[in-house]
Amino acid sequence: MGRSTLEGRFRVIDVSPDEVAEVVRELFEDGCYYATGMGVDERPLNGRFAVYHAINCPKRGVYVILRLTAPENRPSVPSITPVLRGAEWAEREAHDMVGVTFENHPNLERLILPEDWPDGVYPLRKDFPYNRKMAGTEGTAGVRGERHDEATMSVPLGPYHPLLHEPEYFELYVREDRIVGADYRGFHVHRGMEKLAESRMTLNQIPFLAERICGICGCTHSAAYCQAVEEAAGVEVPERALYIRSLMLEVERIHSHLLWFGVACHLLGFDSGFMHFWRAREYVMDIAELITGNRKTYGINLVGGVRRDLSGEKIQKTLKLLELAEGESREVIDNVVGMKELIARMEGVGVLRRKDAREIGVVGPVARASGIDTDVRRDHPYAAYGDLDFKVPVYRGCDVLSRFLVRVDETFESFSLVRQILENLPDGEIINEEYSLPYMEFGLGSTEAPRGEDVHMVLTGGENQVYRWHPRAPTYNNLPAVPLMLEGEDVADAPIIIASIDPCFSCTDHVSIVDAGSGRVLWRGPLLEGVERLRR
């Protein structure tokens, strides 16, 4: 192994193509999982392309970043998907966007770019201008998969989820009323955020773009981005700022989980539960508005700290609202959990076995409901979490009910966290603006979003810019598990199973450039990817 730099939260290791598979296998056997990966066009610096694989090692409290490079004239590295299937999407993404080939990848099909995107054009290469418009090519309408017999019907679920009002497309293969297989096609709403940020935004503008990755858990993205830059540039963040960050991240988790409980009730046909949850959630929205000036998109994080302080009066008001929110949520949850008919719809449904969950690298409540004890707040403490007490709930049911119960426990842990933060808020500054940005320094920031681990990687660009920014939302890691959860289930359960990962389809689709005219062809056949790939 070559050069390695030791940072607190991560270690970047240059690996050779011959040893990468072995290293990955050992890490996986040691309890690590595939967090995310990115391709980088480093040609302006060294004439090479690079791939950064980020492997989360929760037990050791470190991310191992395996860096592979390949020369410009032969941009090809060995695929690690055959040893760790969690890498499948990240490698396909790097192939689409940067044009790195992964040798022996089982399915190096397009993942992100639309099917009428011309071959050989890679939008995240540095010589591709951010504002270039591409004329679409003919495109392949796709051939229907042949793996299903006459008795199997295919049922499209999409292009919008029936409830989540987000673009997604699942194709369910159904025999009688049973789902025998499922495919997923996403990435319909890529906005090219990475390119935009790298090309024409400044360091402290990007947090506001990052925050808009998700309409529900945006604060977690701006926090992860800021942390990544702070790691890269060695910025000391004042303690009070760290506490305020944790505060808003927990407020965000509470409202996000309450929202999800409401959605779950609605999907299960219990609309008054939906309304009760959302009624309780309003107090939490008021807290956010009081502290940050808005119900959503808090706009609180900047590199080096936070933008708004918290007065004693606001703390008192927040505590009052918190009590109302907690009391009401408790009452509603206790009653909902007491409803046998709801529990029966969730128990034993949408099973994701622990082994599959590990190999795919699912995160957050989905992982914790399949018996995996992981939580970025505890394993890689950031913001104020090192100082705070909280339990990480783990359930072993592997089903929708377990995912529900994990979120129930977490919600009340978060109420306690908010109280701890408000009671122990340290005095002092809220932002440190005295730092300088190094050139081409790597940084990784990760947070435990309501939906699981959220990872942002950056390479700094000096001059108040980033050279490369790669955000990875938790749903990116959870979605490939959904086809497995669907298999063997009733069609009627598909909506709640899909919703059980609390998916954020659009957040997953953060990266590409969608040209006018694309997306008209509904790609179907070749998408026997996800589940088929995973089943092998």
Binding site: M201, T202, N204, Q205, I206, F208, L209, R212, F270, S272, G273, M275, H276, R279, E282, E289, L290, T292, G293, N294, T297, G299, R307, R308, E331, V332, D334, N335, V336, V337, G338, M339
Partner: protein
Amino acid sequence: MGRIKLMGLAVSIGKVTERYPFAPVEVPDDYRGKPVIDPGICTGCGACASACPPQAIQVKEEGEFRVVHLFLGRCIFCGRCQDVCPEGAIRLTTEFELATPNHDDLHQFVRLRMVRCVRCGRPFDTYRHLVRSLREVPFIEGERLLLCPECRAKAPLDWLEGGGDGNEG
């Protein structure tokens, strides 16, 4: 029997839906609503425009004027402009009802007269910004501020001390 209890709860709580828009809703004093520029204070320095993430503020030069143009259709109500404005000229208000049939309601223009360079005659800064700068630099240096940046770079330092040709034109 969760279902029955929750039904009872709904009855005892009654209606929670706000009467809005038939009754006003309250927002906190430091709510992040519509940004407004005070045209009497703004110097046209452009700091807000450089900080604004979605480029909702643009500064353009139009002949004798510099125009600070705020377009609410792009604004994300982040308040970065307010953070960085050295004059306290731009502030976020608590106003949030911005829907309008008239596109013009979404634009604010601040027009500021420019100063011409005493040497080359090119308009290069707003009067107001120049006056501000004059207050902050020593007198000798201050007069050099009457030159546009290019001429300033060319002019020898002793220009104002009697050396060189101090004549205009």
